[in-house]
């Protein structure tokens, strides 16, 4: 299978695990999408370094875009790439992040170090925060 096919499959499987296997239903929660939005910005930055400097290179046979050129960086945007990286990397990343968070939350629900919960931030007093956790 191509990277494109595998990446789509990865996203589908991660969503199926979230909704129907672990039943954590993270993709129905803003508590997932807001952190994901933050993570994806940093993914574009760090993966942009890995792909823009050709630390990781790709074969055009297996992605929507062209192969990483031998000389110089790949396109910054367009040609199947976003911030130098193949768009497939966004799907790969989504699957990795969602799967990781699903397992983390699933373990918590099973009682594995469910507590202590996160928070409060150091600038908040514990008493005023107790209601929100």
């Amino acid at each position: 299978m191509s990277y494109t096919q595998l990446a789509i499959l990865g996203v589908i499987l991660a969503i199926v695990i979230d909704l129907f296997v672990a039943r954590t239903r993270l993709i129905t929660r803003r508590a997932f999408w807001v952190p994901y939005a933050i993570i994806v910005l940093f993914q574009l930055l760090t993966n942009g370094v890995l792909t823009g400097f050709s630390i990781v290179t790709y074969d055009g046979q297996f992605i929507i875009g062209d192969s990483t050129p031998v000389e110089g960086p790949p396109p910054f945007i367009g040609g199947g790439r976003i911030a130098f990286a193949p768009v497939e990397d966004l799907m790969f990343g989504f699957a990795l992040i969602l799967l990781s968070l699903v397992i983390w939350v699933w373990l918590g629900r099973r009682g594995v170090q469910r507590t202590p919960f996160a928070g409060p931030p150091i600038w908040r007093r514990r008493s005023e925060d107790s209601a929100s956790t």
């Binding site: 191509s2 990277y3 595998l6 990865g10 954590t24 239903r25 993270l26 929660r29 803003r30 508590a31 997932f32 807001v34 952190p35 933050i38 993570i39 940093f42 760090t46 370094v49 890995l50 400097f53 050709s54 630390i55 990781v56 290179t57 790709y58 074969d59 046979q61 297996f62 992605i63 990343g93 990795l96 992040i97 799967l99 990781s100 968070l101 397992i103 983390w104 939350v105 373990l107 918590g108 629900r109 099973r110 009682g111 594995v112 170090q113 469910r114 507590t115 202590p116 919960f117 996160a118 928070g119 409060p120 931030p121 150091i122 925060d129 209601a131 929100s132 956790t133």
Partner: protein, 119 residues
């Protein structure tokens, strides 16, 4: 670019998220047993994917930007570390937002409905 380039990117990700544990009290590293157990699944799944992709030629790594250390026959050490570092950073982000916003994540109660839990 040096042989440490890829490792430097991973180190940046760890450092850029570590402060969340202290300032937002994410308590992710504090719950290290839950964290280690969590990592098993993405590490196994994505190492298998990576080994397949390398064998099939989907992607490759610049020998001048990686240490050259390899695990499981063909997997650069950096890739294995990637599948540890990214889940940690993701969980820290999840718990950081929860710390500030207090939105439900899904583990506020155990499956049998009890609100208590081991510490």
């Amino acid at each position: 670019m040096t042989n440490l380039s890829y490792l430097a990117v991973l180190a940046f990700i760890l450092l850029a998220t570590a402060w969340l544990e202290v300032v937002l009290r994410t308590r992710v590293y504090q719950r290290w047993r839950r964290l280690l157990l969590t990592l098993i699944v993405p590490v196994v799944v994505f190492v298998v994917w990576d080994l397949y992709a390398i064998a099939a030629g989907h992607w490759d790594f610049d020998p001048n930007s990686t240490t050259g250390m390899v695990v499981l026959g063909s997997l650069p050490l950096e890739e294995l570390l990637f599948f540890i570092v990214i889940p940690i950073a993701s969980i820290l982000s999840l718990e950081a937002v929860r710390s500030v916003k207090g939105w439900p994540v899904g583990d506020e109660q155990t499956l049998d409905g009890q609100s208590g839990g081991e510490r």
